[in-house]
């Protein structure tokens, strides 16, 4: 899931200069789970905007605004309310904001900061375990990703800052390589560790990336 959180209200406030009316778009998938752009948050945003004297012409929570065609269709279904607004505020990740931006000629205000691809620890608590590098090495690291869990992304073992298995950047955080070592030990595959992992090919993480499964 894409983890996102709302921008601070002060930052959003600065975007509202000269904007008198808005149409709001939320996301029923990731942003709902993150409590950053679901029904409830869209409603709260509407209340805040109204309290600032802005008109909210309408709102819709789209099933995954990152789906470009679905977003276009939903925008068409609300054509009149969208037309009345000076700007569209999108409570979805950057991908959702993009869909709206290319399928409407209105000014678009992104209300969230998109953070990472997250695992859910429990409701409302998310952790980054994979950073989508494009050349996965998990088969050699016991299923634990050093490119993500090590703040330096070191591919060949711990740095000199590891102390008692903890990370130099935060003593409450396990060193990624300690986790990998423990996992491989348990799996009886410690020798995997002795292989030198070559540098990453960053072409595999090119921007903008695309995939066509046809």
């Amino acid at each position: 899931m894409i983890i996102s959180k709302q921008k601070p209200r002060e930052e959003l406030f600065e975007q509202l200069d000269g904007v008198n009316s808005l149409f709001l778009i939320g996301c029923s998938a990731c942003a709902t789970e993150c409590k950053s752009g679901g029904e409830e948050e869209v409603f709260e945003m509407e209340e805040w905007l109204t309290s600032l004297g802005k008109a909210v012409t309408g709102s819709i929570v789209i099933d995954s605004p990152c789906n470009i065609n679905r977003t276009a269709r939903d925008l068409r279904s609300q054509r009149q309310q969208v037309e009345e607004a000076d700007a569209i505020m999108v409570l979805a990740c950057g991908a959702g904001v993009h869909s709206v931006a290319i399928k409407s000629n209105k000014r678009v205000i992104g209300a969230l900061d998109s953070l990472f691809l997250g695992n859910t620890r429990r409701i409302g608590k998310f952790e980054e375990k994979c950073s989508l590098c494009g050349t996965c090495i998990l088969n050699e690291t016991g299923g634990i990703c050093p490119a993500t869990l090590c703040p330096k992304g070191l591919l060949n073992g711990p740095c000199g800052g590891m102390e008692e298995g903890k990370c130099e950047t935060d003593r409450d955080l396990d060193c990624a390589w300690h986790l990998i070592y423990e996992a491989l030990k348990q799996q009886g595959r410690k020798n995997v560790f002795t292989r030198i992992v070559p540098p990453k090919d960053w072409r595999k993480k090119k921007h903008p990336d695309s995939l066509d499964t046809d």
Partner: protein, 291 residues
């Protein structure tokens, strides 16, 4: 051939020390410090140490060469991608810099530019392999270098006191197989751990230069333990400094004892004297008790 490599290969005990390039462009003070370093084989030049931005270590090391000193150029993977690392290394070779200490680098969160984007395109293992390739006349992409290939004497860092030992030692072995010719260690305080480490490291045949940090006070120890990754000053040494009437002298005594213990274990010492360079002769003095 660098003096460092000569001495290490002939089995002479070496002493290295370190300086940081200036935060600015004035180097008089540094040369003043360096001129007070006696009995030193080579001087490490740190690279934005602790992730604090300073003058380029290549420039500083080149100045040392020009003045007749032998540097050990430290290069980290934190601030440069693979292209910048290679061009920096070629530049260093052009200035006659041979000794290298190849490091991953402290994370930017420790330094004065915490907002920066950490690079870490390569890690220290990759960088060792890159240096080996350059000395064979090729860049990392396999493209030939023009003219004479650069000459380097590459070294890497080791942390003898790291826990878990086996995990740290796997990386140590990777560094050996990636072509490191010597090791310099993080500051060592626990001689028992150093002994165990050397028992495992010695058969691999790469000389180890053990780090010795000159302690000044108990307060400094607490600071190091809290803030410096990989450094742990044990309680009994802190206590000695606390009880001493002249803590600075006690610090020199501790350093001297450590150096003497290291003489029997390692190929040399790396002194971190942090502004107290004039005490180097006292630290190196053979500690025979005279009656």
């Amino acid at each position: 051939m660098s003096r460092l490599s000569d001495r290490l290969s002939s089995g002479q005990f070496v002493v290295t020390a370190e300086i940081a390039p200036p935060k600015g462009i004035g180097v008089e003070e540094i040369f003043d410090t360096v001129s007070r370093m006696e009995g030193i084989t080579a001087i490490n030049v740190t690279d934005n140490q602790g992730a604090n931005m300073r003058m380029s270590p290549v420039a500083m090391a080149a100045l040392l060469v020009r003045e007749g000193y032998e540097p050990v150029l430290q290069i980290t993977c934190r601030d440069r991608n693979r292209m910048a690392l290679q061009s920096e290394l070629l530049g260093a070779a052009q200035f006659g810099i041979e000794n290298l200490l190849l490091l991953s680098g402290d994370h930017p969160c420790f330094g004065d530019h915490p907002e920066t984007r950490p690079v870490f395109d390569l890690d220290s293992i990759h960088l060792l392999q890159v240096v080996a390739k350059l000395t064979e006349g090729h860049d990392m992409a396999g493209k030939p270098l023009s003219g004479e290939p650069p000459r380097f004497f590459p070294g890497a860092a080791a942390v003898p006191e790291a826990d878990p030992f086996e995990l740290m030692f796997q990386k140590y072995q990777k560094k050996v197989s990636s072509g490191t010719r010597f090791f310099q260690t993080q500051a060592v305080f626990n001689l028992k751990k150093l002994e165990n480490f050397m028992t495992a490291a010695r058969p691999l045949g790469v000389p180890v230069i053990a780090g010795v940090l000159l302690l000044k006070s108990a307060g400094m120890c607490h600071f190091l333990n809290r803030n410096i990754p990989g450094v742990t000053v044990p309680e009994h040494l802190i206590e000695r400094l606390e009880k001493a009437s002249r803590p600075r002298e006690e610090g020199v005594a501790i350093a001297r004892e450590t150096v003497n213990a290291i003489r029997g274990l390692c190929s040399g010492v790396h002194l971190m004297t942090l502004g107290q360079e004039k005490r180097i002769p006292d630290i190196l003095e053979n500690n025979h008790i005279e009656w």
